[in-house]
């Protein structure tokens, strides 16, 4: 995996992690409006980042379009990547 792709993948991880943290917080604080607003804005950024990543490097989840040939099975798989 080249530097550029790895960099974008890590950014995706970071945004998704922020969304998850707020998600868990909201599970036990469903009426915290500030957290909810923050969550919604992070999710918006995440959607854009994920879209951009998938357009360049192929699908990373189900229900996403693929170029020919079927890109889902493209290596490396997550455990094969050198995250250096």
């Amino acid at each position: 995996m080249n530097r550029e792709q790895l960099c974008q993948l890590k950014e995706l991880m970071a945004l998704e992690f922020t969304a998850l943290e707020l998600h868990l917080y909201l599970d036990t604080h469903p009426t915290d409006q500030r957290a909810l607003m923050d969550y919604n804005s992070v999710v918006q950024q995440l959607t854009i980042a994920r879209q951009r990543y998938q357009e360049r490097y192929g699908p990373i989840t189900y229900g996403e379009p693929s170029a020919y040939p079927w890109q889902w099975i493209n290596e490396p798989w997550p455990w094969e990547i050198c995250y250096e």
């Binding site: 945004l15 992690f17 922020t18 917080y25 604080h29 923050d38």
Partner: protein, 48 residues
């Protein structure tokens, strides 16, 4: 929800509720394992 001022009763465990104020930026949060500064309690390695 129980606030610390409420009467706590015996034979029961209490964990205070987190109150969200600020968060770390996404990359710093990922590197630390939490985006919440008030929940970040790193382990200090030591000779055992």
């Amino acid at each position: 929800m129980y606030s610390p001022n409420d009467q706590m009763r015996l034979a029961r465990a209490y964990v205070p509720f987190q109150i969200y104020s600020e968060r770390l930026n996404p990359m710093e949060g990922l590197m630390k394992g939490t985006i919440f500064p008030e929940l970040y309690f790193p382990y200090r390695e030591h000779k055992r």
